[in-house]
Structure formats: structure tokens, C-alpha cells
């Protein structure tokens, strides 16, 4: 470990980035050395993706400096970063599915012979050379869409190498890979190291970190907690660094739920392969039922099944102990189940329409007589919610597109509160909104529970789940891997989440 002698290939100093209401990155320093595999870990919202996006120019930094190869750099776009030798492999791949492996790999660096024709021979030769050197075994003439996810990931890595990239950032690369595929990826990563390519490896999964990384940098709440040598720490120490001191500001005064009550929602053995594999639970009126787990653990898919947005393959849903058939969102609404989806812009709101039209959409029948709309009544209801949830807007006719994320979320909540649901499912309700709005949402959630609604609070941010939930379910790979009561520590849940994975 005498890497310190060498010059770092990437050096970041005092990097800062704020979004409205949030300090996303706070004075981050980071050094990555040649031939190093460096892991970047932290909870959701810790600032990992923001950091990557700043490095490659998706976002522009507020202040601080980035040196790459001893040169001060300031990329405008990932394309520019790629040209200078930094490549990012995202969770979703960015290949062109209709082109073959070799066409994708050489896209943008084709060799030409006169008349603009592509020098297929030379390209093929080069392809074979590099594949051999690094132990890739990809079929060069197969179309990328016919490859598995893992192979596609390898194609992306190969593409980076052909472009003589010296530094590869991998953002949760194993998220959708099987065990064998992960092994293959790890072999390639160690080959990269011996070919003088550095890797910044972003992940949730600590087992992987301890297998492949030499050093670990931990982020929490936009701050760098520490950079440590993998050999000098153990798993629990890293978890503690990730979650920090458990926050003590409780939202729950007393847990009144469940005492002598019938479950309002009961699901038995819900399945839709591959993401949901036999989930059963009961949720009671007046409680906040938290569901957490990693990205890809099947949380969103589970909520969509209960709401009828996707077709159920197996299992049973009971409302007030009576089995119900939910084959569409309409059926769910009739049974007074509501879902505030994760992607509010895509699934919850009609951005080009006014506030009141969004809020009354699911309950429009109540706002019409003989099909004719009672617009005055719509305005009154909208004003009521603007006041009740403190929505910052210029008025009922404000177009939703122009509201901030937090206020848009409140519109999505209002829309469903108007239907007076018995069960309100919220999928990542605080995603992408600022700290103040988050706290407001927690308060809304608690008040709803107090008024007798069963709120199913789904989030991958463990810190908020433990704060607002009466009971907590942990999902891993579409199965329940743990169930906890209010008062459980964040570490305990993180332990369950990370242990169960792979």
C-alpha cells in the first residue's frame, strides 16, 4: 500500500453543491490513485449520485476544484468527460440495442478508409486484441438487445476501454445481475486494475466492497465521513459510519395502532415474478406501516400490485377481512385504496394542467352532476387543501409544472386525500424534495394515521422509515427479510437489509 507516493489520477477538493433548500454536497475531498478500486458508499440521499454527476459534468459545481491527470478540469457534459478519459457505467445501460456488440463498442471511434467507409477489418482486429488482453468473451456480431444484462454491462466497459479510458465510475453495477454474472464482473474489474485503469465503485452492498475495493469513502448527508483502507475496518464500523448517530427526534408519541383492531388491509402471498415473491402482511387502521429495502428489492412493484396497476400473478388481497379482486386502479379506488406513486411527474401528476384539475381528478364524479362539472366546488376543495397542506402556489389555477417538488408532492397527496382512502400507499414520498418539505410530509403522514387512515410508507431511506413508522417491513429480493416495531435502530435495519443481499 505505497500508493500514496504516486500522484492521484483524480483529486477533488472542497467540492460544494446546493439545490434549493438542500446542501447536497458539503466540502467534499476525494483522491483516487491509479490502479485503485475505490468504493463510494452511503445511504440513499447521502450524495453519491450528485458527486458522480458533478465529476462528469451532468451538474455544475457551486465551488471547489477537480483535478484529473493533474489537470484542472470542469466538464460541461459526460461526453466531454468521456473524451478526456472518464467513463460512467450507470445502472441502466446506455447502449443502442439494435446495433451489434462491435458496432456499439466502436461507436464514435470507427476507423475510416477513403470515401467514409468503415474499416471493418481493422476494427475487428482491434476488438480481438483488447478482448483477449482483458479476458472478455463477448460475441462481437450479436445484437446488444439479445444479450443478458450482465453482458451488456461488459460491453459498456469494453467500450470505455476501446476509448482508452483510464478511469471508470460504476454506479451500482450489480443491481440486476445474478451471482455468476457478478463473479464475471469482478474478474474483469481485477483485470482492469492490472491494466492501469482506476475504478470508482458505488454500491450499497458492503460484501462487494470488502471483496474488491482497496479503500472506502463513506458519505452521509452530503458530507464525507471518512476514507478508510478496507483492510483496516470491519462491516459494522462501515455501517455505523453510514448511518451515524440515530436521530432521536421521534414523530410517534405513542403507538396506538393494532390494539384490538381488525386489519384494514391484509395481503397473502402476493407474487409477480421476478420482483415480488410471496409477500404477506397485515396493516391496521391508524398506523404508519413502513416498508423499506434496497433499490430493486421489489417495493415499488409491491405497491403497484396492491393498487392494481400491474397484474397480480398470485396471492390474495383482503380489505376488512374480505377478499377483494383488484384488477385495475379503478378497482383499488373503489375499495378505497390509494397510491401515490414514486415517479410523481410520470405517474401522479398532469404537469400541464392546473392545480385544481389535478386534485379533483380521482374524485371527479363528486364534482359533477349529470356529467357537468361544478367548478366552483372544485375551487373550494382545492383552496381547502392549499391551506391544509400549506401548498405554496399562486392560486388554484396555477399550472402544476411550475410548482417545486415538495409542493407537487403535496398536490399528489391532496388528490388522494380527497377520495378519503382507508389505505394510503406512499411510494418514496420524500424523494427529490428539500429537507423542510420532508419534515412537513412526515407530519402529514402522522396526522393521517391519527385520523384513522392506514398509511403504508414505502421508502429506501431507512432514517425516515424508522422515524415515522409504527411497524417496519424489510424487503429483500421480493421477499420479507425482517419485521420490526417502532423504536428499532437504523443500524439494526441496515444490518438486515445488507445481510440478506447476496
Amino acid at each position: 500500500m505505497n500508493k500514496k507516493i504516486e500522484e492521484p489520477i483524480l483529486r477533488v477538493s472542497k467540492l460544494n453543491k446546493s439545490f434549493p433548500g438542500v446542501k447536497a454536497l458539503d466540502n467534499i475531498d476525494l483522491e483516487i490513485y491509479p490502479d485503485e478500486v475505490h468504493a463510494l458508499v452511503g445511504e440513499n440521499g447521502a450524495g453519491k449520485s450528485t458527486l458522480i454527476k458533478l465529476l462528469v459534468g451532468v451538474y455544475q459545481k457551486d465551488s471547489g476544484t477537480i483535478y484529473f491527470n493533474n489537470q484542472k478540469v470542469d466538464f460541461d457534459s459526460p461526453a466531454q468527460a468521456f473524451q478526456k478519459g472518464i467513463s460512467v457505467i450507470y445502472q441502466e445501460n446506455s447502449l443502442i440495442p439494435q446495433l451489434t456488440v462491435i458496432q456499439n463498442v466502436f461507436l464514435g471511434t470507427e476507423y475510416f478508409i477513403p470515401f467514409g467507409l468503415i474499416d471493418e477489418k481493422k476494427i475487428y482486429q482491434e476488438y480481438l486484441n483488447i478482448s483477449k488482453k482483458l479476458g472478455f468473451e463477448l460475441p462481437p456480431h450479436k445484437e446488444v438487445r439479445n444479450l443478458g444484462v450482465a453482458e451488456q454491462k461488459l460491453v459498456e466497459i469494453l467500450k470505455a476501454l476501446i476509448h482508452k479510458v483510464k478511469f471508470i465510475i460504476m454506479d451500482e453495477p450489480t443491481a440486476s445481475l445474478s451471482e455468476n454474472e457478478i463473479e464475471h464482473l469482478f474478474r474483469i474489474i481485477s483485470e482492469l486494475k492490472s491494466n492501469h485503469v482506476s475504478v470508482l465503485y458505488i454500491t450499497h452492498i458492503l460484501e462487494e466492497v470488502f471483496r474488491i475495493a482497496e479503500r472506502i469513502t463513506v458519505l452521509r448527508d452530503g458530507k464525507k465521513i471518512n476514507t478508510v483502507f478496507t483492510k483496516e475496518v470491519n462491516r459494522n464500523e462501515v455501517i455505523t459510519m453510514m448511518v451515524g448517530e440515530s436521530l432521536k427526534d421521534a414523530y410517534i408519541s405513542e403507538s396506538t395502532a393494532m390494539k384490538g383492531k381488525q386489519p384494514v388491509l391484509k395481503v397473502e402471498n402476493l407474487s409477480r415474478k421476478p420482483r415480488v415473491n410471496g409477500v404477506s402482511f397485515e396493516a391496521f387502521p391508524g398506523e404508519v406501516f413502513g416498508i423499506t429495502g434496497l433499490t430493486g428489492a421489489g417495493k415499488t412493484e409491491l405497491t403497484r400490485l396492491i393498487f392494481g396497476a400491474d397484474k397480480l400473478e398470485g396471492g390474495l388481497i383482503l380489505i376488512d377481512n374480505k377478499p377483494v379482486r383488484i384488477r385495475s386502479p379503478l378497482d383499488a379506488v373503489k375499495n378505497r385504496i390509494s397510491l401515490i406513486p414514486e415517479d410523481r411527474k410520470k405517474d401522479a401528476l398532469i404537469l400541464i394542467l392546473e392545480l385544481y384539475k389535478n386534485i379533483t381528478l380521482p374524485s371527479l364524479t363528486e364534482f359533477s352532476s349529470q356529467g357537468v362539472l361544478l367548478i366552483r366546488k372544485e375551487f373550494d376543495t382545492t383552496k381547502y387543501f392549499i391551506k391544509k397542506l400549506d401548498i405554496k402556489t399562486s392560486g388554484v389555477k396555477q399550472v402544476v409544472k411550475y410548482l417545486s417538488g415538495g409542493n407537487q408532492q403535496k398536490v399528489a397527496i391532496s388528490k388522494w386525500l380527497q377520495t378519503e382512502p382507508k389505505v394510503l400507499i406512499m411510494d418514496e414520498p420524500t424523494q427529490g424534495i428539500d429537507v423542510k418539505a420532508k419534515v412537513e410530509i412526515y407530519t402529514i403522514v402522522r396526522n393521517l394515521a391519527k385520523s384513522g387512515v392506514c398509511v403504508i410508507f414505502v421508502s429506501s431511506e431507512v432514517s425516515e422509515v424508522v422515524k415515522v413508522s409504527d411497524r417496519i417491513l424489510v424487503l429483500s429480493q421480493g421477499r420479507i427479510s425482517g419485521e420490526f416495531k417502532y423504536g428499532v435502530s437504523q443500524e439494526e435495519i441496515m444490518g438486515t437489509i445488507l445481510k440478506e443481499d447476496k
Binding site: 396497476a309 386502479p329 401522479a348 362539472l373 411550475y402 388528490k415
Partner: protein, 316 residues
């Protein structure tokens, strides 16, 4: 921040009503350069010429607000007009009208079914039905023009109520009726909403496919009504009738500021779009400008109107 929002709102209202300003300015300008323009006879002439496309474009507006597209309405006009004429050999024209309105609605339903349920892109689905329906027109007419001689039927296209031509009255009543449906009924609201974001409407527990199909039914129904007026106005229908009408209806709709990506639009502004195109044609005729030049200008107007909408969306 507030200033930004105000600017956005100002931009929004210009975008929404810009076409009206353009329309009024153009009328003032034209009445100065062409003396005959503001005469009662000329105004009625323009309105009457606008009636057939205008009625058809009401349906087109609904389809486009619902983020659909319908290029079959020109053929459908021909089929319904031909049937309306042909059926009068056997039944009273009143029943013939009723029948062709049903045919129009059914073809619309088929279009909607293909787009909403089979998920064929609307422009391709209606390209298919356009071709089929045109074929049916040839089969029905045998390739020859059909004639009818019925003074009472001729009233619809040629009569006057007081000073106003009857087709103009049909147009105005329909515009008022469908504008009301669009902004004051549940169907109208759902139309805008599903054009804006169909998945979000589905996840709000609305029978989206049903309402999506219904927008196409309105499209077919209004094409059939335009067919009736057409048949009555000319009292004859050739197999080539209505060719290109769908394009004029779409052009009027988008010139009227209906967003090509769906969600926003207005029947009244579509009427302004129809009038605008007809006024320009009218003035060019008064000035003796060749029809070929008119095509070029019309194309340029369509591009500017749609370009304004799409570019301002892209700009953000």
C-alpha cells in the same frame, strides 16, 4: 422566482390567445387593403366556406387534445356524404342522416379501439382506416358521382335562417356545444387529462381507454356531420370527395393553438384557425393571387403555428 413565474404566465397567455390577436390584426389589415373584405356578403361567404371543415375540425380538436391523431376523417366525410345521398333512394333523408352519423361514430370507435386497445400509433391506425374507408366509398358509388334532388334536404347546406346561412348556424351551434363539453363536463376534463398524461389518469382510477376511444368517436361523428352538410350543399358526391380535408382540419386545429402533444386546446380557437385559413384564401382570391402560391403560404402558416408551440415547450 416570482418574476420568473409571472413571465411564464405571461408567455402562457400569449401562447393561448396569440392566435386571436393575429386573427384580429389580420382582419384589420385586410379590410384596409381589400375594400370588399368587410362586406356582409363576403363575411357570410367566408363563414359558409368554413362550415364544413369547421365542423370536422371540432372532432379533430378532441382527438388531438387526447394526444391522438385522425387522418381518416376526409375519407369518412366522403363515405357518409355518399351514403347520405345514396340512401335517400330508399329512406327519408332524416333517417339517412341519423344512419350516417351512426356510421361516423362507429368508424371513430374503430379508430379509437385500434389506438387505445391495440396500441397502434394513432396516425398509422387512421392511415389504415382512411384507406379502407376510401375503398368503401368506391365500392358504394361504383366509382361514379351520386346525385340527389330534394329541396328540403338541400336546405341544410343552402338555406338561410333569417340572414344567416343554415350551415353557418350548424357550425356555430356545434362549436358552442362542444366547447361546453370540453371545458364543463367530466368527459372534457378527462380528455385534457389523458392527453396530458394518460398513465397518471389511469393510476387515478379513471377508465382511460374508454374516454380515449370516445375522443375518436367525437372525431368520427363530426366528420359524418360535415359529410351531411357537404352532401346537402352540393347535392352530389364524387368518390374523391373530402380528399385532403383531414389535413385542413388538422392544420386549423394546430393553428388554433391546440398542442400537438395533447392536453391543451379549445374548440373556439380551432374555429379561429379555420377562419384564418379561409380568410387568407379569400383575400388571395380577391387580390387575384394564384392558388399555387396559396399552398406555399398555408404550409408556412402551419409550420409557424406548430413551431411556436413545440419550440416554446422545448425551450423551458
Amino acid at each position: 422566482m416570482n418574476k420568473k413565474i409571472n413571465l411564464d404566465l405571461a408567455w402562457y397567455s400569449i401562447k393561448k390567445n396569440g392566435i386571436l390577436f393575429v386573427f384580429i390584426l389580420l382582419c384589420i389589415f385586410l379590410s384596409i387593403i381589400t375594400p370588399g373584405f368587410l362586406s356582409w356578403a363576403n363575411i357570410l361567404n367566408i363563414l359558409r366556406q368554413s362550415s364544413i371543415i369547421g365542423i370536422m375540425a371540432i372532432g379533430t380538436t378532441f382527438v388531438i387534445i387526447g394526444a391522438g391523431f385522425d387522418i381518416s376523417v376526409g375519407s369518412l366525410l366522403a363515405l357518409t356524404a355518399a351514403m347520405c345521398v345514396g340512401l335517400q333512394q330508399y329512406i327519408h333523408w332524416g333517417f339517412a342522416i341519423l344512419l350516417v352519423l351512426i356510421v361516423g361514430a362507429l368508424v371513430g370507435m374503430l379508430n379509437g379501439f385500434l389506438a387505445a386497445k391495440i396500441h397502434i400509433p394513432a396516425i398509422i391506425a387512421t392511415l389504415g382506416t382512411m384507406t379502407i374507408v376510401r375503398g368503401l366509398v368506391y365500392l358504394y358509388t361504383g366509382g361514379y358521382p351520386l346525385y340527389v334532388d330534394s329541396p328540403s334536404f338541400a336546405f341544410i347546406g343552402n338555406g338561410y335562417l333569417g340572414l344567416i346561412p343554415f350551415p353557418v348556424i350548424v357550425l356555430i351551434v356545434m362549436v358552442i356545444f362542444w366547447q361546453f363539453i370540453l371545458i364543463r363536463t367530466r368527459f372534457g376534463r378527462y380528455t385534457c387529462a389523458l392527453g396530458g398524461n394518460k398513465e397518471a389518469v389511469r393510476l387515478s382510477g379513471v377508465k382511460v381507454d374508454f374516454y380515449h376511444i370516445l375522443t375518436f368517436v367525437v372525431g368520427g361523428l363530426m366528420a359524418a356531420m360535415a359529410g351531411v352538410v357537404y352532401a346537402s350543399r352540393l347535392l352530389s358526391v364524387t368518390p374523391l370527395a373530402g380528399q385532403g380535408y383531414e389535413l385542413d382540419a388538422i392544420a386549423s386545429t394546430v393553428i388554433g393553438g391546440t398542442s400537438v402533444s395533447g392536453g391543451e386546446g379549445s374548440v373556439v380557437r380551432t374555429l379561429v384557425g379555420v377562419l384564418l385559413l379561409n380568410i387568407i384564401a379569400n383575400v388571395f382570391n380577391l387580390l387575384g393571387i394564384h392558388i399555387y402560391v396559396q399552398y406555399v403560404i398555408k404550409g408556412a402558416i402551419i409550420l409557424s403555428a406548430v413551431g411556436f408551440d413545440t419550440y416554446s415547450k422545448f425551450r423551458r
